[in-house]
Structures are given as structure tokens and as C-alpha cells.
């Protein structure tokens, strides 16, 4: 990271990361730096909104509104919080509000089942092999993963999204979605195991067959 030349060595700013400097500058009125500050998180913020709203146009609109809210509240942002988490929480909040508002047209809400209390039994015990992350360079793979995620019930999908994709911790996920940490853990377990089964089934149908794995081995 290039050392910004305006920072004096003895200034308290010297010990700050580029992000902390940006936050401090925006808080002091340098509005033009706000986009630079939030830009690295655009993708995560959008994905969070999309996970909740499931509509690209709505998600984008909510992101824009959420960024304005973040700007309006940035004087209250405290350095001990993670900025990315803070942004995502604002976005999730905005998206949930939007969904509540539009609830009448969202059929999915009616089909919610209560948390499954019973244990989840994995269905597929195929031999595994590590799938290299480079597989994600292939649009087909990303699409399969997205499709599997879309098959989960909303409550599992959202928790999985926040914890495993947005990298919020359990407590932050609970706060963002307004549920208990116990619920987060139960749903997370189920989401992870269901996704594994869904993708294992996909493997059998040849979704990943063109990936360079050893013949006969299965990654799930």
C-alpha cells in the first residue's frame, strides 16, 4: 500500500490503515473520498442485498440507498467495529425493510417452515477430494453453486450467506438478521450440509465432470 504523503510521521494518522484514514477524512468532511472508501465492498454489499431480495434491480437500488445511509451515519462509526461488517449490516437492514414493505407480493414468505429440530443426515458419502478454488474461474461452476444456494429455504440461505459468504461472525449474523445465535448455529449446520449434498448430487450428474479431477474421485 503506498504511503500517503500528507501524513506526518508523528501524526496519529501514521499508524492508521488506508481505510482508517479514509474513514477519518470522510468524517472530517472529505465527501469526495466516500466512494473510494466503500468501493472495495461493493460486491459484498450487493450480494447481501441480492440474497435477501432475489431481484437484481431491487438489490442495486437498496445498495444505493444503503450507501447514502452509511454516509449519513458515518460520524457515528466507531473504529473498533469492522467497516465492512458495518456496511453489510446497514445494507441487510435496508434490504429487510424493503422486503417487509413489499411482503404482499413476495410469495416465498408464506412457504417458510419452522426451524427443523431433528438432526440432518447426510445422504452422500462419496470419496472426497479438494476442489481447487480456481474452479470458480468457470462461469458454469459459479452458476451451479448459485443454483444450489437458491434451492435452500430462505432462513438457511440467509444465514449461510452472512456467515460463509460475507464472513460476518456468528454474533454479527444473529444481529444482522435479528435472530438468536443458537438459531444461527442450527441453520448454518443445516445449510452447509444441504449444500454439500446438493453439490454431491450435481457431481453425480456430471456438473463438474470437465474439471481436472482424478478419474473416479469425488470432491464432496
Amino acid at each position: 500500500m503506498p504511503e500517503p504523503n500528507l501524513v506526518l510521521e508523528n501524526s496519529p494518522l501514521a499508524a492508521m490503515t488506508r481505510e482508517q484514514q479514509l474513514i477519518a477524512s470522510v468524517q472530517q468532511g472529505r465527501r469526495e473520498l466516500f466512494y473510494e472508501l466503500v468501493r472495495p465492498y461493493e460486491r459484498r454489499v450487493y450480494a447481501a442485498a441480492l440474497a435477501i431480495l432475489r431481484n437484481e434491480a431491487d438489490a442495486e437500488e437498496v445498495c444505493q440507498e444503503a450507501m447514502l445511509k452509511a454516509f449519513a451515519h458515518i460520524p457515528q462509526f466507531r473504529a473498533e467495529a469492522r467497516f465492512s461488517t458495518w456496511l453489510i449490516q446497514i445494507t441487510v437492514n435496508e434490504a429487510l425493510m424493503r422486503r417487509r414493505r413489499d411482503r404482499t407480493v413476495v410469495m416465498e414468505g408464506l412457504a417458510e417452515h419452522p426451524d427443523e429440530e431433528g438432526n440432518y443426515t447426510p445422504r452422500d458419502f462419496a470419496d472426497w477430494r479438494e476442489i481447487p478454488s480456481e474452479a470458480l474461474e468457470r462461469k458454469e461452476v459459479r452458476q451451479r453453486l448459485a443454483e444450489a444456494l437458491a434451492m435452500l429455504d430462505r432462513k438457511y440461505r440467509e444465514v449461510f450467506m452472512m456467515r460463509d459468504m460475507e464472513h460476518l461472525n456468528i454474533q454479527e449474523t444473529a444481529e444482522a438478521l435479528g435472530i438468536s445465535t443458537a438459531s444461527v448455529k442450527t441453520r448454518l449446520l443445516r445449510a452447509r450440509l444441504m449444500l454439500r449434498d446438493l453439490l454431491a448430487a450435481g457431481w453425480e450428474r456430471g456438473w463438474f465432470s470437465r474439471l481436472p479431477f482424478e478419474k473416479g474421485s469425488k470432491p464432496w
Binding site: R31, E32, F34, Y35, V38, R39, E42, R43, R44, Y46, A47, E56, E60, C63, Q64, M67, L68, F71, N119, Y120, T121, P122, D124, F125, A126, D127, W128, R129, E130, I131, S133, A135, L136, E137, R142, L145, A146, L149, F160, D164, M165, H167, I170, K185, L188, L189, R192, L193, L195, R196, L199, A200, P219, W220
Partner: protein, 204 residues
Amino acid sequence: MVVSCEAVWREISNYLEDDMDPGLRSAMEEHFRSCQHCNAVLEGTRNVIRLYGDDRMFELPSGFSRRMERWLTRNVVVSRGTWPGWLIAAVAAVLVASSLTLARSLMTPNPPLRSEHAQAGHGIPPDMVVVVTEGAKLFHVPGCEVIHNKDKQRTLTAKEATREGYVPCLRCMRKYLNLAGARRAGAHAEKDEQREAAIRAAVD
């Protein structure tokens, strides 16, 4: 401590979170060493977490960043003091809506009724290189004297500029704009922009 497969499945998520007491943890490790099924579940779940946790899973719709930057420029950078952001946004939306109609009419091929003479050289070529600047609503021929903030200018095609809501500058784009209606609409946009700038200056 000995754990069953069922217990392992129940705890596998906590195991991966490293959220359990050391006794259970080592019992599970022991189990994974001897149980192929649970090992498959563990490694598959690790695959799930690693792949979905990768940044490459996130794709933005095309133009998202550009629209976000423009949105924030309008509502955060440009709107100062007590000038409420939503009002600027509303004004901008009206301007964009009207200018879009105008620009679309400029860029589509001329209607068939017009004479061949009138068609020649009219309309802005969609892939013509033009220049825009932050906070302004006009697009220009590079080097136009009306461009302010030359250090913040950005180059793009006329088509992209139009899609982003910019309208042609009357000074430098005039030769493309000899449709009477277009000139009127363009003049409106320019006047609106001046008015907006004046309001902003007054509020500052």
C-alpha cells in the same frame, strides 16, 4: 470419549468454526481418522465453505460501479450543506429522464420521412469519443472550452455517456444537433444545470 457418526454430523459445523471444548474436538479428530463417511462429509463441507467464501462468487451487474459512483457523486459529493440529497436526486432523475428521450432520438437512425440531405451528418455517432466530468451533466467533444474540472474528466463513447444520463453540450455538439426540437431540449438541460448550480452555490 467416543462419538457416534450422528454426533459428528450434529457438531461438524461447530467443529469447523472451532467452537467446541477440546475433549469433544479430539474425540471428533479420532473419529475422522477411522470413519471414511464422516471424513467425506467433513471435506465436502470444507469445499462448500471455501468455494462459497471466495470473492469470485460475487458478480456485479454490468455498470453497477459506474452507477454507484454517479449516484454517490450526486447525492454525497455534490449535495452540500443543508441541501437535501433526495431533492438533488429527484432533480437529477427528471433531468435524466428528459435527456434520455432526447438522446435516444438523436442516436437512432433518422425517421424515413426526412430528406436525404437532412439526414447526412446528423445525429451523434454512438461510438464517438466524448468527455464528461464529475458533477456535471453534459458530454463534450474532447477539448471543448466549456469543460470545467478538466482534471476530473473521463472519456467514454457517446452511447455510454447517454446511457449514464449525460446530455450533449450545445457548444461543441452543435453541428450534430440541428434538429429544432433537440436544440430546445438541450437548451433546457443546460439551463437546468445552471439553475441547479446556482441553487447549490446559494445553499453552500
